[in-house]
């Protein structure tokens, strides 16, 4: 790097530069879509395209709230995503602790088995899942989505937590156990807080995975009497 460039990239400027890149990369498409949402029909197809909405209108938003039950959809998504996030964090924390820490033969095989879950595209699991949920009379319920999402989140949560648990020195939890903590107590009071960045990461990944999901939620919430074919109605995106 030349001296000139080095001068330009003083620590402070470099940080501003870095912030600009990260912010632009993250926000640009969302901001662009927000601007687009404020454009009326004529402006949307204007040439040359406008960068800033010239005549901002709220018609698109009014349509979304009046013609579509948008708040209800959002609430449903939030409930399902939060429940499956909590459930998968709990289940995978237990499993990850067993794999990372406890005396267990074939831990790699077990980990592979859990990871193998994410090798199956949802498209192919949908027909059997639909039939299971119909058999259990759980169609149109949160459970029908929470259970599959929980399982789909297990691989990522478990793998993230295993790698974080392994990075925590064993001495710390041994010390806690000498001080009278049970193993589970040590996991809850010592290991989990130390693995907080990992728990947080896993939680976010799980939440967003469930929040993203679309195909399954569509088929599981099909009306009881509709056929499987109708549940698979082509998705308009």
């Amino acid at each position: 790097m030349s001296a000139g460039l080095n001068n330009f990239f003083t620590a402070k400027r470099l940080r501003w530069f870095a912030a600009a890149i990260v912010l632009l990369n993250g926000f640009f498409p969302a901001v662009w879509i927000f601007f687009t949402s404020l454009k009326g029909e004529i402006e949307l197809t204007a040439k040359p395209i406008t960068y800033w909405p010239q005549n901002p209108v709220l018609t698109n938003y009014i349509a979304a709230f009046r013609d579509q039950p948008l708040p209800g959809y959002l609430l449903n998504s939030a409930i399902v995503a939060i429940l499956s996030m909590l459930l998968s964090l709990f289940i995978s924390a237990l499993a990850a602790y067993a794999i990372a820490r406890l005396n267990l033969k074939r831990r790699n095989l077990i980990l592979t088995g859990i990871i193998a879950v994410s090798m199956f595209p949802l498209v192919t699991l949908m027909v059997p899942l639909f039939e299971i949920m119909r058999g259990l009379n759980l169609l149109n319920s949160y459970v029908a989505l929470v259970l599959p999402y929980t399982v789909l989140n297990l691989p990522i949560c478990t793998l993230v937590l295993v790698s974080f648990f392994q990075d925590i020195p064993r001495d710390i939890e041994n010390a806690a156990m000498i001080d009278g903590c049970t193993r589970m107590g040590a996991l809850w009071h010592v290991v989990m807080p130390l693995a907080a960045p990992g728990v947080f990461t896993a939680g976010i990944l799980a939440f967003v995975n469930s929040w993203d999901e679309f195909l399954l939620s569509m088929s599981m919430n099909a009306a009881e009497n509709s056929s499987i074919g109708a549940a698979f109605e082509p998705t308009t995106r």
Partner: protein, 300 residues
């Protein structure tokens, strides 16, 4: 001879052996997987040996490996595999490099961290199908921002979705944008576990920033990188939403997952769809196997 004292049932429940405890802790996860994945997957594998076409109705007939032979002779299948592999080989390393860059930028000591974190999270939080729609709009030949920028800089605007090559390029760019934040998120968590004292020591020894990156950051990031790479590769093999929302001419840019969906959902040919899914599973299995050879079991 030393007699091992007999432990009461109460003792064994309250203070189980480590192995027993380990299995107890694994039980909920394994139980869930058995019901939600193992059963559907076995149904899937069984279906792949049958001629199951819902449109034609029951009964289904056992046809052995006919579905598999049909797939191997199916040019649409091979094109879907090729497209899937192209997306995987471009977007996985692409997302790793961009994600590492973003993670390191975001790891700088900013005073206002939350907007940076939000910027990192946002692409990951936007649903895939939605990202596909946004980028399809970006690449729109008439109203897209990409062509507008090309025009402003005096270039030749492209009709992106008219050519398979350009479509794949647009798909890959959208995918890298969307998935690099997932990489960045995991790598950032990994970066934060690297003790600052290591860098201070290297600084005292006079190591350049590049040497510090090569000798400290990269090696210590390997575990988080492997985690991120495994999942990114598996999701790349299953690419569906983004290519689906950014269709090229005909079915030129179809991925394996799209072809499975087409056969299962549109043609209701569950047998052939299941067979294709088995191929996808084998692809994923091979990938995971390669990665896991690099993941050690225990650190100590």
């Amino acid at each position: 001879m030393h007699q091992r004292p007999q432990r009461s049932l109460r003792d064994r429940i309250l203070d189980p052996s480590e192995t027993a405890l380990a299995w107890a802790l694994l039980t909920p996860a394994l139980l869930f997987i058995a019901v939600i994945v193992a059963y559907p997957v076995s149904t899937l594998i069984i279906n792949s040996f049958f001629d199951v076409r819902l449109a034609r109705g029951l009964p289904v007939t056992f046809i052995g490996f006919d579905n598999y032979a049909a797939a191997l002779a199916d040019s649409m299948f091979w094109r879907a595999v090729r497209n899937t592999l192209i997306i995987t080989f471009i977007t996985v390393p692409g997302a790793l490099v961009v994600g590492l860059g973003l993670a390191m930028l975001a790891n700088m000591p900013f005073r206002f961290r939350s907007p940076i974190r939000l910027a990192l999270l946002l692409p990951w939080a936007l649903p895939l199908a939605f990202v596909g729609l946004i980028f399809a709009w970006f690449f729109h030949s008439e109203y897209g921002i990409i062509n507008d920028l090309i025009r402003r800089f005096g270039g030749e605007p492209q009709i992106w979705f008219n050519s398979p090559g350009l479509t794949m390029m647009a798909i890959c760019m959208a995918t890298i944008w969307k998935t690099s934040s997932f990489m960045a998120l995991i790598l950032l968590a990994g970066l934060q576990t690297i003790p600052a004292s290591l860098y201070e020591a290297a600084e005292v020894d006079g190591a350049s920033k590049w040497t510090q990156f090569r000798e400290i950051t990269l090696p210590l990031l390997v575990p988080s990188m492997l985690v991120a790479l495994i999942f990114r590769t598996l999701t790349a093999i299953q690419s569906f939403d983004i290519p689906f929302s950014m269709p090229g001419p005909g079915e030129e840019s179809q991925t394996l997952a799209m072809y499975i969906q087409l056969n299962t959902v549109d043609y209701l040919d569950l047998g052939y769809g299941s067979t294709l899914a088995v191929f996808m599973f084998m692809l994923s299995m091979a990938t995971t196997w390669v990665y896991l050879r690099y993941v050690r079991g225990d650190k100590d």
